[in-house]
C-alpha cells in the first residue's frame, strides 16, 4: 500500500522517539569532562598550578582514594553506573511513541493512541445512544477497551456497541477492529 521510500521513512521516524536530546546532553557532559582533563594535562605539562587537581592526583583518587575522598569516589562511581545503565537502555530500547501506523493509500498516516481511543468512544456513544461523556475508551497496541455508562431506563446492547466500535476502527485499519472489549456499567446515569 504505502507509498514510496520517503513516506515509509518519515512514518517510521515519527513512530519512534529520537535520541537526539539524550545524545546531545551526554555529549555535552563528555565535552566538559574532556575539556577539564585536557586543561589539567596542559597545565601540568607546562608546570602551571592545577585548576582542581593534577592528573596524577586524579588517577590516584580514582583507583585508591585516601580517606578524604572515599565518599566522593563512592558517589561518583554510583552515579556513573546508574547513568551508564540509563544510556544503554536508551540505546537498546525500541523507543516507540504512543502512535499507531495506519495503512492508507494517500500519504503516510500515524494516529495518536489517544485519538484512536477517542474514535472508539465516539462510535460507542453513537451506537449506545448515550451522551458523549458517558463513554470512555483506552487503546493499547491493537487492543481497545470501551466503557459505557448507560442512561437509566435505556438498555444498552453490548454486542451492538462492540460491532459499531469494530466497524469504526476497521474503517481506519482492519487490524484495530479485531480486539475490542466493551464493558457496560451496571449503574446508569440520569440523562
Amino acid at each position: 500500500m504505502s507509498n514510496g521510500s520517503v513516506e515509509r521513512r518519515i512514518r517510521r521516524r515519527s513512530v519512534h522517539r529520537s535520541r537526539s536530546t539524550a545524545v546531545s546532553v551526554s555529549l555535552g557532559v563528555l565535552a566538559l569532562v574532556a575539556a577539564w582533563i585536557g586543561t589539567e594535562s596542559v597545565l601540568h605539562a607546562v608546570g602551571a598550578a592545577p585548576l582542581l587537581a593534577d592528573p596524577q592526583t586524579v588517577v590516584d583518587a580514582a583507583l585508591r582514594p585516601d580517606a578524604a575522598f572515599v565518599t566522593v569516589a563512592e558517589v561518583v562511581a554510583g552515579a556513573l553506573v546508574v547513568l551508564g545503565v540509563v544510556l544503554v537502555v536508551l540505546a537498546l530500547a525500541p523507543g516507540r511513541r504512543h502512535r499507531s501506523v495506519v495503512e492508507h493509500e494517500r500519504g503516510a498516516v500515524v494516529i495518536d493512541t489517544r485519538i484512536l481511543a477517542s474514535t472508539a468512544a465516539n462510535a460507542a456513544g453513537l451506537a449506545a445512544g448515550v451522551p458523549e461523556g458517558n463513554t470512555s475508551a483506552a487503546a493499547r497496541g491493537r487492543r481497545t477497551e470501551v466503557r459505557v455508562v448507560p442512561v437509566t431506563g435505556v438498555p444498552v446492547d453490548q454486542e451492538t456497541v462492540r460491532a459499531a466500535v469494530r466497524d469504526r476502527l476497521a474503517a481506519l485499519d482492519e487490524r484495530f477492529g479485531k480486539r475490542v472489549t466493551v464493558r457496560v456499567e451496571e449503574k446508569g446515569t440520569l440523562a
Binding site: 521510500s5 551526554s26 585536557g38 596542559v42 601540568h44 580514582a62 551508564g84 494517500r106 485519538i115
Partner: protein, 187 residues
C-alpha cells in the same frame, strides 16, 4: 523528520553508556570491597598508575579532538527543515512554492470540518526529496475516521494545486488546543 542519523545516535549512547559503567565499576572497585571482590575473578585492577609526563600532551590532544567532535555533533543535529515545499526547475529557471501556500490550502480545506481543531504544516528535505508533515489536532472525543476523510479531500485539493503529489506524513494528534476545546453536545 530531521536528518539526524538515528542508528549513530543509538551507537553513541551505547558506547557512552558502556564507558560510564566501566568507569563507575573501576572507581567503585577502589572504594567498595564488595565491588572489588565481584570483579576479582575477571580483571585485576592496578592499585596505582603513574602518569608519565610525555603522555600529557597526547591526552590533551585526544581531549581536544573529543571536545570538537562532540560540539560538532551537537551543533549539526536536527537539520533538514525547509520552507520550500516544491521546487520545479526548467533550464536556468526554477519555480519554488513556499510552505505557507501548503499551509493555507490545508487550513482552508480543513476549516469547518467538525472534529478538527487546527492543523500545522512543515516541510523537510528527506533523501533529497521534499516532504510535508501535516499535524492535525483532533477535538477531544472526536472521530478519526471523518477527520482522515477530510484530510484526504484536502490533500487531493493540494495535489491539484501543486500539480503533483508531494510525499506527506499525516499525524492525527491531540495536543493542548484540543484538550481545551469543548466537547460537542449535539451530533
Amino acid at each position: 523528520m530531521t536528518k539526524s542519523n538515528r542508528t549513530l545516535n543509538r551507537v553513541i549512547l551505547l558506547v557512552l553508556g558502556l564507558v560510564a559503567v566501566v568507569a563507575g565499576l573501576v572507581i567503585g572497585a577502589g572504594v567498595l570491597p564488595a565491588v572489588r571482590d565481584a570483579l576479582a575473578g575477571y580483571v585485576t585492577l592496578p592499585d596505582r598508575v603513574e602518569v608519565p609526563a610525555e603522555s600529557l600532551w597526547i591526552v590533551a590532544a585526544a581531549c581536544a579532538v573529543v571536545v570538537v567532535l562532540a560540539l560538532v555533533w551537537i551543533v549539526t543535529r536536527g537539520r533538514g527543515g525547509t520552507s520550500v515545499a516544491v521546487r520545479e526547475r526548467s533550464g536556468d529557471d526554477a519555480v519554488t512554492v513556499n510552505v505557507a501556500l501548503v499551509r493555507d490550502v490545508l487550513d482552508h480545506e480543513l476549516r469547518g470540518v467538525h472534529d478538527v481543531v487546527g492543523s500545522r504544516v512543515d516541510t523537510y528535505l528527506v533523501r533529497r526529496q521534499r516532504a510535508a508533515r501535516v499535524r492535525v489536532a483532533v477535538r477531544r472525543g472526536g472521530d478519526a475516521v471523518t477527520v482522515l476523510e477530510a484530510v484526504d479531500r484536502a490533500l487531493a485539493v493540494l495535489d491539484r494545486t501543486l500539480g503533483r503529489p508531494v510525499p506527506v506524513l499525516v499525524h492525527l494528534t491531540g495536543g493542548t488546543r484540543s484538550a481545551l476545546s469543548r466537547a460537542t453536545r449535539v451530533h
